[in-house]
């Protein structure tokens, strides 16, 4: 599985897609590709709001090193 892009990058790409669609730079064929990509990015961003992965153990290991 490819690594998910950082959420900051994700929202920037998302907003780029939105603005390109807003400017109607896209035809219907591109539109479906872009909307699909945007949906993925939205999922990554929303997921970020509701999940963290930090582990106290690894933090303590760094502090005590």
């Amino acid at each position: 599985m490819k690594k998910e892009i950082p959420y900051t990058q994700a929202i920037e790409e998302l907003e780029e897609i939105v603005s390109s669609i807003e400017n109607e730079d896209v035809n219907v064929d591109e539109l479906s590709v872009k909307v699909k990509r945007a949906a993925e990015l939205i999922k990554i961003c929303k997921n970020k709001l509701h999940n963290t992965e930090e582990e106290v153990v690894s933090i303590l290991k760094d502090i005590n090193s």
Partner: protein, 467 residues
Amino acid sequence: MSEKINKESSKKHFSLLELTKSIESVIKKTYTRSYWVKAEIAKLNYYPKSGHCYPDLVEKENGVVLAQIRATIWAGQFNEINNKFLSVTKEPLSDGMTVLIRTSVSYHPVYGLGLHINDIEPSFTLGEMAKEKLVSIEKLQLNGIFNNNKQLKPDLLMQRIAVISVETSKGYHDFTKIINENDWGYEFFHMLFPALLQGEGAISSITEQLNQIKKAQKYFDVVLIIRGGGGDVGLSSYDNYKLAKAVALFPLPIITGIGHATNETVVELVAYKNKITPTDVGYYLIQRFHNFSARIQNAQNTLVNKSKQITNNEKLNLKNIGVVLKNGSDALIYNNRLKFTSTAHSFNRVSVSFIQSQKLSFASLTSALSYKPKLLISQQEKQVQQLEKQLLTSVKTNMQSSNTRISSLSDKLRLLNPQNILKRGYSITSHKGTMVLNTNELKVDDIVETQTYKGSFTSKVQSVNKK
């Protein structure tokens, strides 16, 4: 004071008490009233049990002690002095403070020289504190680091939080409640780095925890210094240059919520954000989540609306194209129908005449057909009749010639019949049923039979004449 003569040494001398008493009286005469003195409390030495306080007072210059003296605040006065001090400076009397004391000088033969503090002017210390604050700010600005923490570009979400606080404090409790029980399901990770948050010890305690967090900075987005329930008291350490510098230079954004309503301390001034209370810090972090969430939502809404619009436009276009296509094809169909109808008419016409002509030729063919076979048949019939006749004639002829031959043959056959030959006197001799044609076949005494025209007889061979 009168000198005595010691017999043994023959030197004049005083007793220690005489000397100290003398010192005591000189001091009493010289220092007849109270004096306002500026000094630094090197160590407060307050004994809560007795209530007495024995501060070590110093004067320093560039860290070097120039003067030092022990002082006393008796229990009866300490509370009054300290409370007044606290209400004005928001700090209790503590180590390291520069104070303006009203003191008398006393000397006691046993306890020695000391100062009796009977009052402390808090506004002086306040001024000193303000001065220290100003000095800290100036130094930070001079070193160009005042805005360092403010200018950090933190991640959009401050999700992983290092909290410098006291586990049992109300402020820490308020904060964790807000972020742990948020209604939007936002998830935070936070870890407590406990520290002293007020008084002189706070400076080193907080600095030390900042150093710890720095080691693990990749795990965190933000550092909070939060404190609550302590009122406005004990904040002067947050004006300390060293602590303020540590905050200003910290690689992660620092948000303060040290809970007071008066002038901001230097630490608060240099921090990335000062949110005053731990509760507000919690709401601030949640607000950042809201902002991020709103960006996603906006993007999503725009995406949906705009895509719908584009799709609808495209549908309209297609519909228009469809109408054009329909109109065009209708016209085309109509034209072609017209053409087709006229073609059909002419086709009809042509084909009728064609059919008629075909009918005609067919009729002639039919009549030809019905005539020709009759002719053929009658021809064939004639031929057959003729063949019959020929056959009959040839058969008759054939029969006549056959009859002639047969009668001649029967004549011959009649002539050839042995009866006829026997009639003419000939006889046939046979031996054992076989005609005897050769005498070689016979022996003497053979019995032979001889057939004549009428009857037969047997005879015995007497002799054989062989040929």
